[in-house]
Amino acid sequence: MRRSLFYLLFFLLPLVLVAQHEQDSAWIREHYTKKELYIPMRDGVKLFTAVYLPKDASEKHPILMNRTPYSCSPYGEDQFRAFWMNHWKYYLRENYIIVIQDVRGRWMSEGQFEDVRPFNKNKKGNTDIDEASDTYDAIDWLVNNLPNNNAHVGVFGISYPGFYSTMAAASGHPALKAVSPQAPVTDWFMGDDFHHNGAFFQMDGFSFYSGFGKPRPQPTKIGPKGFDFKVRDNYKFYLEAGTLQQLADYMGDSIKFWKELYAHPNYDEWWQARNARVAMYDVKPAMLVVGGLFDAEDCYGAWNLYKAIEKQSPATNNKIVMGPWYHGQWASRDGSRLGNVRFGRNTAFDYQNNIEIPFFNYYLKGKGDDPALPEATIFFTGENSWKQLPQWPPQNMTPTALYLQANGNLSWNAGGSSNAYREYISDPAHPVPYTEDVHFGRTREYMTDDQRFAHRRPDVLTYVTAPLDEDLTLAGPLTADLRVSISTTDADFVVKLIDVFPDNFSYPGDAPQAGRTAGGSYPMGGYEQLVRGEIMRGRFRQSFEKPVAFKPGKTETVKFELPDVAHTFRKGHRLMIQVQSSWFPLADRNPQQFVNIYTAKPEDFKLSTIRIFEASSIVLPVVK
């Protein structure tokens, strides 16, 4: 009954919304005033806070807060943020009090900034602060000082503001009723942003920290400049830079976090303290964790924050939403495609109107029925439909191994000679690109890009099934379970799950393309769509804290998890796995020697011959 009601809402709400007034900039100025305040924290440090207050006094209003290191600009009480350009305008239509705060030490706030400041579960006096206590102090001040507020506070944010949302949820303030961490930065060593399984995501790290990491000794409205890239080809820039030491030289000496990152090459206590999940115990507010299946930055964080709360705080009202989105796409105007791949509907619109807004309306305004969101609202690509699930992964999911055979086939059956292997040479002078073409910034589209460019390289192994004779649905995490040997003492392993489209495939309404034309659509026949890819720095195969060298020529197991997928391989498609040992310049090159990569010299980079044995498998989350 509830389900059909939900579907009904899907269809009705868009009509209701369209009938309303558009909340443009004039409307907002007419209905809101802006105040800029300094809110004192318990240790005396004051945080700069922009507050947008509805003029309406006919009822009390909830507070929706965003805490960010990226500035609550524009500064000046007569300068309004452009809410009319995104879905926040629907909150203004509902007369929410909107609060945007510069976190401690950033932009106009006082104090010392610390990247992903570790949660302190043993705060004692007023000098023990963290982001959770700062949020507590902010909420406390706001509910006691803002006119006409209904003492119900919600916090949300995407990416780094997602991290601050996670920390808000740990604040324990009783007025905080609902929190939505979205693509939340959660663990920068295991899977978010700057490392995946210990492999350094140098391109994201360097381009981000060269600007963001610059010291901010005093509150300011002026942001830092980033690195002046003369080379507009990221593959070339990072290959010519060569070593992480060279990148450090470019970075200069002033960027604290960069130096700290280099000083902690393994998952030691320093990193473990910075895993935001350690804060997720006894979480009181309703939680709505949101993420993108194709988020190049914090896909790991979204899935794993949700799972951590499930495990560590089982009493919490905790839900997850995952759509076919790049980083933040759910907050944009179009969720119908990413790169060449199309999803058949505007999933961003679906999410905003049917999930997020009803969630906050219910918990912060007590408005309407409990939207009774299912535990997991997940968009399944391939079949392109939303599913409402009572648990994630779904109950009828069975981890099933698919074996990498030495003849290039994939088989559900183990067996065959476990001594048979395929091999390739990984040459650090010619790393496998993470996407084709030449780009300056990291593309968002690489997460669904055509992998044929990689298929054609001699340093990529490709395994493929026959065309499927029925749909195959995967829902949950993947595990790569490789039996390998290498000729050196370390190597990286990249495993990619790929959906191969039929040779005659075209999207409805498109004529089958004979070739890529300028401004035309991409030839989709035979497209090899990346569904999920992940890298593992081989030295961490036994422990992320204590890396272990490979013995050249010795067969070893490299087992690692890839972030959850929700994808249906349609009948007639093929399932493909590619294995390679570089993913450049997304991840730094492994010198393929067991040396400290952060201090490695150019001469440390060596060729490695990599063998993948037939007993290797990928364990897939198959749904029957």
């Binding site: 030449v438 460019f453 001699p458």
Partner: protein
Amino acid sequence: MRIFIARLILLFLPFAGFAQSAPDTGWVRQNFTKSEVFITMRDGIKLFTVIYTPRESGKYPILMQRSPYSSRPYGADQYRQRLGPNTQLMKAGYIFVYQDVRGRYKSEGSFREMTPFIANKKSNKDVDESSDTYDTIEWLLANTPNNGRVGQYGISFPGFYSTASLPAAHPALKAVSPQAPMSDEFIGDDCYHNGAFFLLDNFSFYSGFDGPKAANGESYTPFFRARYSDAYQYFLKMGPLKNVNNEAFFRDSNSIWRQTVKNDTYNEFWQSRNIRQHLSNIKPAVLLVGGWFDAEDLFGALKTYAAIEKLSPGNNSRLVMGPWTHGAWSAPSWTSFGTYQFGTNLNQYYQDEIETPFFNYYLKDQGSFQLSEATVYETGSNQWKQYSTWPPAGSTPTPYYLQPAGGLGTGKPAANGGFSSYISDPAKPVPYTAVTSGGRNNEYMVEDQRFAARRPDVLVFETDTLSSDLTLTGEIVANLLVSMTGTDADFIVKLIDVWPDPSSLPATQQGQRPTQMGGYQQMVRAEVFRGKFRNSFSKPEPFVPNKIEKVNFKLNEVAHTFKKGHRVMIQVQSSWFPLVDRNPNKFGTIANMDEKDFQKNTIKLYHDSRNSSYISLPVMNQ
């Protein structure tokens, strides 16, 4: 040669010359009458010929095209939409003639690919294209209101038929313009380059060209219609060349495809078809036209001109080379290609100032024709150059030595310079383009080569940043010293212009952003050589594993300025797929080999003081 026709149609549809918005036969109908006749050749065979005569009475020169691609439309009241090589000539007062060559479409007789010329004809049974043209001209002179002079022109295969009319030409044939003419299909045009088989082009061409002819002669049924959106995957999956003969593909053992595959050395079959050797004592004025970015017959344009220069002292022939793809000079407009922006409509200049005056002068005594010996578009500096010889005096072959660690320069490498090596794996051939496509990517000749530079099976050698402009005009010669673990290999050498970081090109349209060119590796010229022919094209020889051997070969001429701040780059690789079929890396007849014969090959390219691989570049003196 082949894909020409379809492309020509696409180029002409936006026809600038007329007030009409759609192509239309109105003007031609109004101004010409059409007749269709059979002209009998000396051996009794009749050739189908279409004649468009101006309605206004007078005596006109004849301008003729002979083609294997059909003289359609057929039917006395079916008219062509346009006539002649360009709009100006169409309106200048000519009789236009289109003829189906012997054995094609409505003409009688047997078709032979690249009909060999018979130098010593003994009887009326000895026929070739020269004699067929002669006999045709004889008949036309007697049966049309003509001024006694005939011209001929054609692009691609019709270009060959133009060249083929030159030896023993009829005295009334006064002006001939072979344009992108096929000349030698083993050495450099269409089917093979230096013995390497052009798989993609041959396959798509012969699947259509050579099928059974309809009873009325007006069409051919293709052998099959292949539809694929990823040529690389399609041809890789096809496997060894012998698989093409199976049920799905070319069943007929008499087909031209089978004939082309079977003749895989420079044997008598190909030697007899090399028209260049017969270009002595040439009487007509000749205008050779070709395109720097012609993927099919760049060789033919350049080498037909060179043959006439060598064998016919006192000839009246000239060369025009522009930044065109195959046949592009005949379109209404040509202002850009790839990332090149030419700034003006080069075709207006070519058609109005070169092609039209050429025919008007030699066929009508109208105006004058003062064109230099060679009119050549210099890319990079983007300007026309006029030379009194081709290649020009003032161009010095200068060795650029491959250096260790990817350098390139005029100094010889050191004694311990060693070698660079790569593994050529036939299962993972180097693509010829980064674009996934079902047809040949026509822009591959100017494409950014960074996709190749990033592969472990491509060697890259690069100069320092140039401190001044460097202009290359003339032929390039690769001189490689190699050894390998296999017994054969292909060598592809690519000359590349590397743009500085940062650099950009202005936007061509309003609202567009400038094109980022920093680091762009713009291909300028490239060629393949099948290594087993390094000592003789007719007698291939295996490589001895691990023995250092010379592989020397020419690349087609260039006229390009590398601007100050750019770099010169050479890339070397051993596959170029599916443009060229895969070398199994094992000596033998590739058409007989199975998949298991295709093996990996570790190839070394030497660059030390004793074994100094170099590329000879034609440096223009400043």
